[in-house]
Symmetry: D2
Subunit: 354 residues, 4 copies
């Protein structure tokens, strides 16, 4: 109810501020008997962590996960998996300048109004640092889902758009460049553009596309917890996300039914996939694909006029080490949230029939 | 968990199939002491009901709501509000032809696979008829929210797009035309186009835009239950929805932070509103606006090849009375779901401070 | 959250006041493919209904259940099962005399203080009539649980106590007498005593014992949702219940560990069963047995002094037709709630292992 | 759903095994602005911790709580409060002897059957060590509830019973003796008896009574989440609890309505309090009192025959340092769970009226 849990059968609850002693979470509902690959979990953490390349924030955080419970002799026991991620690089002084200032397009103002108090150090709870817990939990969900393939990639940075269909792309290229765009030459342009943006002390928005393959038929719980409704909530809960479309999405609003309907093959698969792998809120075995819109990061290194808690107009300028464009690091976060949604519905589907 | 409930503090649970005896629902958590305006509830039902104009399905359903509990002497009592909506016009024979057939881009196939059984009459639970219960509950939520103004309208039908900013529109025009588009001349074109589409025995997609005004500051529960995340789930749970964007949405991915940031006025309001009224998942007092994408209705009156439960290829053709374009009737549904999200967060916000 | 739902995987939500048009509920999560025996459901309703014998209230209510959804061609479809029970015998005038009066040991005072309004007709939502919905849902849960045997009986009326161990009793006797006590001769005394109490215009308390047999090993979710914790909540949620003990219960507090420990047989069964079929919150395959304490019904036919809403002392006397002792009719309610707890954990247990 | 969360508005989720690196929890929903008294929290931990007196286990655990989030400059921020309690004294070798053995009346057998794996070190998740997290969270709940007075005490050890009414007791005596019995002379006998029991290598059961005073009118959510139903679940979820009765409890089953009804005074208070402070599931402002039954601790220092995972009969004997009687240390746990129930309903009650 207070909003820090996600999922039902496979449920993640997180805690932690960007500058507290540690962040962490509890996974409640991971079935017993899962052999955990801790290196795979660490690898996911590395994909999200700051300082991994020249185009992301240079903040240094090891971001390694310490598991405290729910695992015995390498296997999950069916009891809650508690974990923490220590904040080793807090630099609270970096934030003294915003103690009394509401940064434009940040959560400073809304948290203060809602709670009457806020942890102003680095955005506190509203910091994207919280997503580290999601990536840790998502990495475990991925291991539960073995055969399901979850692949996210950058499909847009500002005006540089990747428009080709996902099927035409070489996914093996994604992790080969710091932008995580499967088109190598476009990736180079994006990288150059992001560096230029940073030089300007500015930031830019972008898009992440994600494809879920080998998803079993039957996942999703109509009517309110439709597969794509819960998936949409998961994506919109990620910092800076302003929209999601799956399957034909907004382009589908221009189509006619005679064009959009996905006709069946005799084996139950479909000849086209405008539906994006979901019918009536339930997965149909086709690929699920969706695109997520990220606004530009609000913290810029240029002077901006803003107000303080007293409502006085003041001038401020971003400090510290921030991402000029969030999408490269958002890729593993999008995958993690998709994995959490899949794991939850994968388990819930065991309850569908007598 | 089985997915038929929405909300926490103001919680709606629905039941019912399109061709059962009745649909209905329970609202649990409506506070005591609310004087209900039953005519206003009926008015919302009329906005959604079939047969209301020449461009929607001609099915005849009175769709009137019978309240069974939770109201005494005209006021809510704090106990659950149970209600039913009878199915007076079932015509099950209309559906005998699809008993064993999986209609393309319908939920027939996925329900059968998930549950091993389906009520094939008119789509059963997957029918959009279920949204009648949402409109009834949303109408009560609207009355709880008094001062908040919820306005949805059609902003696109196929290629006919309304691109002007919502602030430039005359909302009083919306209910004056059957399309529910605030631009009277565009509405005429849309109406003509929908009639033409129906003549072709085809259907077409469209968009609905919604604006929430006078929303109190502080609604929304970070981090997973952000205001716009829950709103997105609500919209994506509506039949035929393929995407949602709020505030700057997908266009915002092309912007720079220096353009996108909403600078404050001294009073805490903002000079621009690219954020769409939400910061860090919490409402900031500015208008909340979003657009929802609807795919074309899957039932068309043209011959299509499909398969039956035995996996044999068969030819089928839609029968009965269906909407050529769903967006005119979707307007009150979008408003209802927005009202449910607002009512829930409005109540939950009472728990934020000691 | 507003408290009208019970269960997670097999979830019942109820609505309705004793004197509204109807009561009803929604079962969300009943798996698809269950063939429903409607006569068996009606039979359970008959066991609870008023007027069934000379020692219960003579109110006449058919209490038959009308199912509105979730069932197709005699089978559950996996969609929510909505049902209503009409109030055919409302006699609201019976209650005019308590419109402004707070009856002693009733919920009149607390509802008024909590909600600022109450439906004074027959206790409104606080009436035990609400349990009719539980019996209807429990009857479906029983059908899902096939092999599990749920047997409740009256083990005490006032000072007339049945002290023999359940294993020594002849359960086939229970439904042969109106008290539902398996000891025929004690049943006769109880029956006579209840009639005497009614002559006095008084009421008396009693006990119901329940035994769950053939329960699979592994039901229950530690640590907060232990099998017996959820069972205890279920029982304490029944009107007039003041206590529950299971297994050795309060007597066990006098024992030593060397006496109380249940030693294993080689096959994993235990030589004794002081634990009452649950270890660490999880069923161990032994019989689960527990006893529920019911206070005397608050409505008596004698003059009592009480207060009205203005805080004035007034004299009142019960009218209408009430139970002199609630336990005979409580037997099917205890069974129904036990069935709901079992059904929920039975389904949740499918999530324990990968 | 997996059972490791308690509460709705004020929600505790716990993790941790007795011999993992740490236990901990997350409190989600503690309102912002509460000034935390950390010494008071530590004081509660000390009341529960092992080794505090000669009659409890001599295991040494500092049991101090480390808070990781949700608190800033001494005040709660409205974000989740994460905390851990390190296991400093694990001595896993103490448990090698039970690696393959199912201890009688322990959860070894049921966990193994449910999950197919168990952490055999000290009972793992089923260890009462988990209750340390409840005490930590309960201590915060107590601070939220300021004016409400929560007092638990030992009312029985084996056959030594404290029968006087709580109103006749001197609560200031409770913490003056290691048994936590408010009757000094009975406490001495209990203490002597517990020492004797330990000499025998045996254990004994007991009772804890708890009184809640100055509880506001209106707490509790009918019909399933009645105040006392949720309270009963809370108590039954504590290790070794076999029963609960509140108000007149089991004795009330012998009473007549004319004796049991609590008549009102003009001010709305009642002349008697057989109802135990709750009417229709809602608090009425009178004292709430209840008694909890604890079975004897299962681990005894005497030889017992039992079985191993292979179903072979083997002989075992308890080792290590265990409580001969659990009730003295259970007192703060009962208070903590009562505080969690009160805090949850205290917040939820803000949602009752418009």
């Amino acid at each position: 109810m207070a909003g820090n849990s996600f999922g039902n059968a496979f449920k993640l609850t997180t805690f932690g501020e960007s500058h507290g002693e540690a962040l962490g979470g509890i996974i409640d509902g991971c079935p017993a008997g899962l052999i955990l690959d801790f290196e795979a979990i660490e690898a996911e953490m590395q994909r999200r962590k700051p300082g991994q390349s020249a185009i992301v924030t240079q903040r240094k955080e090891p971001d390694s996960v310490k598991f405290l419970s729910g695992v015995f002799e390498g296997k999950t026991t069916g009891t809650p998996i508690g974990f923490i991620i220590e904040n080793t690089n807090q630099k609270s002084n970096d934030y003294s300048h915003i103690k009394d200032v509401y940064r434009p397009s940040h959560a400073d103002f809304t948290y203060d109004k809602k709670y009457g108090i806020r942890d102003y150090r680095g955005g506190g709870r509203s910091s994207a640092r919280e997503t580290a817990c999601r990536v840790a939990a998502g990495a475990i969900a991925k291991q539960l889902l073995k055969d399901i393939k979850i692949t996210a990639y950058v499909s847009g940075v500002g005006n540089l758009q990747l428009d080709s269909d996902y099927a035409a792309l070489d996914f093996s290229e994604i992790e080969k460049n710091p932008v995580r765009c499967p088109d190598a030459s476009l990736a180079k342009q994006m990288e150059a553009y992001i560096k230029e943006i940073r030089k300007e002390g500015d930031t830019v928005g972008g898009r992440v596309t994600c494809v879920l393959q080998n998803v079993p038929i039957g996942l999703g719980e109509p009517v309110f917890d439709k597969f794509h409704a819960q998936l949409g909530k998961a994506m919109l809960s990620i910092n800076a996300v302003k929209g999601i479309e799956y399957g034909s999405g907004f382009a589908g609003t221009h189509q006619k039914g005679s064009e959009h309907n996905d006709l069946f093959n005799a084996d139950g698969s479909t000849k086209t996939n405008f539906s994006g792998g979901v019918q009536g809120g339930i997965t149909n075995g086709e690929d699920i694909y969706f695109t997520v819109a990220f606004k530009p990061v609000a913290t810029i290194m240029q002077k901006q006029e803003t107000i303080n808690a007293e409502g006085e107009l003041v001038e401020m300028q971003g400090k510290g080490r921030h991402d000029p464009c969030v999408v490269p690091r958002a890729v593993p976060i999008v995958e993690a949230m998709a994995a959490l949604v899949l794991a939850d519905f994968y388990l819930l589907n065991r309850l569908s029939k007598i």
